[in-house]
């Protein structure tokens, strides 16, 4: 193993200079540090430095019982916490072969898709913030707040939900919630054109995002880029479609994909995904059956020895939880394959030769959650 590179913040001989972007910088959305070698405003090389938010999530999970680790996994990606708890409970359910009641499946899908819209809305605002527009951020917050209210209504918490349990849910949903979800879906559909008027059609936005940060399809595959970033590069790959989990095969939805691979393509994919999520939520509300919300599972989870890999499509891409059980109450080994980490790996390649302003636009378009990168 080679020694980590060291950086001198003094100017280098040839007139280039090193610029420390972060770990405290408004454009990196967290404690990410990128060391940039700059020639004027142009970036010669970018080197992301990770680990400022490292919390040893994998090791913590190995020292906990399966249930105790559940609150922890939500904290990796605090914007898509539902998908994370879904991945964790699904992995354990797969390991133990638990059945999940229909009603719980529907609520899970509903909650995850609401969470996906909330995450995309926050990304929408934050991306425009990177481009220098402030209003979209709070316009998105107005709608995101409604989703958080809905999720708080059923889970009691606004970000780190910890709502799913092995074999079902922590608590049932009532008709008031379902009606409010329906209202939100119709209301949000009506408000979406305003998002497009404010940003999608904007000529400045077009200039800032078109042909910027192009991820070529073979690169996307090579770097392991997933989620909207991959779909922006022409692959209609979505775990929800390719390896349906948690009953996603019961719902009709399209996987939006764009060919260009630039920031605008990723933007369009996410905007289209929000509409697809609305469609999924609508179907889930319409077809939710009565019945138990939680299957009877043992109080102490003691899965048979073996291993399982569970892939879930989080708002940022493909999350894989790999879990090895030795038959005890605690997992023997846990590995999280997180989407942000793989998506960040291509940033150095994309930023090379770009202007500083573009590099931040690219970083924003990759939709990073830094605690997820660092785990």
């Amino acid at each position: 193993m080679s020694a980590p590179p060291t950086y001198s913040l003094e100017s280098t001989d040839n007139g280039n200079f090193l610029l420390n972007l972060g770990p405290q910088h408004p454009g990196t959305h967290g404690v990410l540090r990128v060391v940039l070698q700059m020639d004027g405003e142009y970036i010669l090389a970018a080197d992301p430095v990770l680990g400022y938010g490292h919390r040893m999530q994998e090791k913590i999970a190995e020292n906990m019982t399966y249930l105790q680790a559940l609150p922890y996994v939500c904290r990796m990606d605090y914007l898509g916490a539902m998908s994370y708890s879904l991945a964790w409970v699904c992995a354990v359910e797969k390991l133990c072969s638990f059945e999940v009641p229909e009603r719980a499946v529907h609520v899970r899908v509903m909650a995850c898709e609401l969470n996906r819209i909330a995450s995309h809305l926050l990304w929408w605002g934050a991306y425009l913030l990177d481009l220098g527009a402030f209003t979209p951020f709070l316009q998105a917050f107005a709608d995101r707040e409604q989703i958080l209210d809905l999720l708080e209504y059923i889970t009691g918490s606004r970000l780190t939900y910890c709502y799913f349990r092995f074999g079902g849910l922590a608590a049932d949903v009532d008709d008031v919630f379902l009606r409010r979800v329906e209202d939100f879906v119709t209301g949000f559909r009506q408000r979406l054109p305003r998002y497009h008027d404010l940003v999608t059609g904007n000529v400045i936005f077009h200039h800032r995002s078109k042909d910027v940060g192009v991820i070529l399809p073979f690169e996307a595959a090579g770097y392991g880029v997933t989620g909207p970033c991959l779909r922006g590069s022409g692959f209609a790959y979505d775990v929800r479609k390719c390896e349906p989990y948690s009953g996603y095969d019961r719902f009709e939805f399209a996987v939006p994909a764009e060919q260009e691979g630039d920031c605008l393509a990723r933007y369009n994919v996410r905007m289209a995904e929000m509409e697809q999520s609305l469609a999924i939520i609508e179907q889930a509300v319409a077809t939710i059956p009565d019945g138990p919300y939680r299957a009877r599972v043992p109080r102490v989870i003691r899965p048979p020895a073996g291993e399982v890999a569970m892939a879930v499509e989080t708002p940022r891409g493909e999350l894989v939880i790999f879990m090895v059980s030795d038959g005890s109450t605690r997992p023997c080994r846990v590995k999280f394959r997180v989407p942000s980490f793989a998506n960040l790996s291509i940033f150095a390649r994309l930023a090379r030769g770009q202007l500083l302003a573009d590099a931040l636009a690219i970083l924003g378009s990759l939709d990073m959650v830094i605690p997820e990168v660092d785990r």
Binding site: M64, T65, L67, Q68, A69, L70, P71, Y72, R75, T135, Q139, A142, E145, D149, E152, Y153, I154, T155, G156, S157, T160, C162, A170, A171, R194, D197, L198, V199, G201, N202, V203, I204
Partner: protein, 151 residues
């Protein structure tokens, strides 16, 4: 042809900017969403997860907790300390010490779910502030409840 595209670009670009300005103007004249806390408060949902609190037994007024310790065992952050004692005339133990280290608590709610006596509930107290962390290191949940062990 190029000149036409040049001018058309300027015109469509300007129209798109005007569209955006219409949206922000509509925002400006619409009602703000802000809740002016602390003068106004947003409604808390029934399932709001605040810090935990101890419920009292309706008959005796003693804490419902019989110190089985399942909450302390299930807590991922090990922030609950519970001790119980048997009063002379009763079969079940009663908690004499129930401390919550709120600085470690992540509000996951597993303790409330695991309690066989249904002795724990979420408080609706969210505006917590203190001058030192020790105020929250050992929050005594039995405070204000009657105890069978009066001296």
């Amino acid at each position: 042809m190029n000149g036409y595209r040049y001018l058309a670009g300027i015109v469509t670009g300007s129209v798109s900017l005007l569209k955006g300005m219409r949206v922000t103007f509509a925002n400006m004249v619409s009602r703000p969403h802000t809740v002016q806390w602390p003068r106004q408060t947003a409604p808390l949902p029934a399932r709001f997860r605040g810090h935990i609190r101890m419920l009292a037994d309706e008959e005796t007024g003693f804490p419902r907790c019989f110190a089985c310790g399942s909450c302390a065992r299930i807590c991922p952050s090990a922030c609950i300390t519970v001790q119980g004692r048997k009063p002379g005339d009763r079969k079940k133990k009663v908690a004499v010490r129930f401390l919550l280290d709120f600085t470690k608590c992540s509000l996951c709610g597993l303790c409330v779910e695991s309690c066989p006596a249904r002795a724990l509930a979420f408080s609706r107290d969210y505006a917590l502030a203190g001058y030192r962390d020790t105020e929250f290191r050992t929050m005594d949940l039995l405070e204000g409840l009657a105890s069978p062990f009066q001296f």
